[in-house]
Each structure stands twice: as C-alpha cells, then as structure tokens.
Symmetry: C2
DNA sequence: CTCGGAGTTGAAGCGCACTTCAACTCAAGG
DNA sequence: CCTTGAGTTGAAGTGCGCTTCAACTCCGAG
C-alpha cells in the first residue's frame, strides 16, 4: 500500500515542518489516524489539504478562516478537483481585492511623492478604514477612533 | 505657539493610540522632548513621521526597517518633502514586487482551478522560495528545507 | 536483543506589534 | 485646595503561528 504517510514523509513532501503539521492537526486543519503504537498516519489526500493551507496563507488568510473553509469540504467523500476549485475561487476574490488595495496604495504613494504632502487626512493615502494593515499581527483590541480631529494644520 | 503636541493630541491627529506612540518612541521611530513635569511634547514634524510609519506598515515593512529608513533622514534639519519622497520611492519598489507576486499567485491559482491539480511541486503555485508568506508573524527559525523529495506520486 | 532514528506529549518560548494594568504625578478649572 | 482628566513608568498580557524542549515510546535494521 502506498497510502498512509508518516508525519516525516508528509513533512518532506509538503515542505512543512512536523511541528507545524501537528499544530495544524490540533487546530483541526488536517486529520490523521493512528497506528497501534500511537503514531500518526496521513492519507495521501492530506497532502492536498496542506498545499491548500500554504497557498491560502500566501493569500493572507488566517488559519482559523482556512479551517472554516476546509470544514466546508464534503466529509463523506474525498474532495474532488472541483471541490478544491470552489475553495480556490473564494480566495481569488480576496486576492483581487488585496491587489486592488495595494495598487491604490501605490498610486497614492506616487501622488504623494509628487505633491510631497504625506499628511494624514489630506490624501487618500492614509485611510485607516480600508486598511490592509489589519493583516498584521499583534493585539488590536483598542477601538479605531472614528473621529480624528479636524483643526487645520 | 502651536508647536509641541501632547501625546493625546498627536494620538488624536494621527489616529494612533498613545500606547503605540510610546512604543514607537521606545523603538526610536519618533522623538519627543519633555516638559518640566516629565511629559512628552512632540514637534509637529513628528506627525509626518507617524504618517510615514503607518503608510510603511501598509506596504508591509517591519518597524525595524522603518526605523532604519527614518534613521537615514537628515537629523540636522527638518526633513523636506524631497526627503520624504526619497523614502517613499524605496517602498514603491517593494510595493511593486509585492503586487507582482500576488498577481502571479492569482494567475497560478486560476491555472490550478482549471487543471484542478493543487499539488505541491507540480505547479508554480507552491514555491516556498519567493514566498510572500514570510511576511506573516511567528517564530520562523527552522530552516527552509531546500530539498523536498522527488519520489513520484 | 540492541540500537538509533523517528515518533509521541504537554508545556513553555519566540517574535512582532502592540495593549493593559497598577500605581503614581501633572496640569488646569471651579 | 480639591478634583478630574491627561500623562508617566515598568511589567505583564495578547494573538498568531509556530518552534523548542524534555521525557518518553515505537519501529526496523543488524
């Protein structure tokens, strides 16, 4: 049988560290069964899941959202290429939006290089609302202040 | 005098929390002088710095790199619009590259939706080398394994 | 049977970008 | 003078995505 990969094999074939694979499993992103001696064995189909996870991360999706997406796959049968394609399409929109925002940022940056302003509310550049910055890590519990002052410079 | 903002004022005008401003100052990204009673006072020029910091973060630059960039500003005189433009231009290249990579990811994703492969080394999609994923947070001490296996599926 | 490499676990650590807290001082209005 | 709101500090906490460690077991070759 060429089914059933060990964690080391899955790691080697996916390029993802064993520790990360165990972590994914704890979060419910991938699944395994166990041998008599309590070792993990992965079905080959899990390779696709890992691929999907890493690709999704590049799109900028959090593990939690990836888990939600994977949960929407049919659990009874092994997912078909079409199933995967459906998930990928969802990410495509995100990717488009992300590219759009970065493009806008670039244009605005160009504009501001031209005018030399780099002031906060003046140009569209500094728009906390549609920010991409929210992607970053870190505790972000403080509410965004909706007002920001309107006395002139 | 309308020089010298309190931390609260700088926060209100920049949209950045006071705690974050103190944090930036600890890291050497912005500067202040103190009143007799040990309170921070910010020159108006710091507003531009804060703007630059937030914009840079949207471009995906780390605070450490932003600090390095800010350190390259002339310290003797107040930076001119041209000085800021020079810094912004450096980010532009990053932004272009980032947009390019995301565009490639999108195209590859489209291709893979078409072929339904989503396999790891098969398509250009899964290329750990030029990854954007390195942006993300987290400990990333494990070396990327350059080999990834070559037994066939 | 022995050995070493691969696997197991839970708990702790890391890096980033902050926030939160407690305990305190400062500054301005009534 | 008193109060209240804004500011100060250092230390600790938060969230994400992992890695690292210690102490252990499993498995296959010799």
């Amino acid at each position: 049988m060429h089914e059933a990969l060990t964690i080391g094999q899955l790691s080697a074939r996916s390029g993802v560290a064993p520790s990360a694979l165990r972590y994914y499993e704890r979060l419910g992103l991938i699944r395994s069964h166990r041998t008599g001696g309590n070792q993990r064995r992965y079905a080959r189909a899990e390779l696709r899941r890992v691929a999907f996870i890493r690709i999704s991360q590049q799109v900028g999706v959090s593990l939690d959202e990836i888990r939600a997406a994977l949960d929407s796959l049919p659990s009874s049968r092994t997912p078909t290429p079409d199933d995967w394609a459906a998930l990928s399409r969802a990410w495509r929109d995100r990717l488009d939006e992300k590219i759009r925002l970065l493009g806008k940022l670039r244009d605005d940056l160009d504009g501001c290089i031209g005018c030399g302003c780099l002031s906060l509310q003046r140009c569209t550049l500094y728009n906390p609302a549609d920010s991409l910055a929210a992607e970053g890590p870190g505790a972000r519990l403080m509410l965004p202040r909706p007002d920001a002052d309107r006395a002139s410079a």
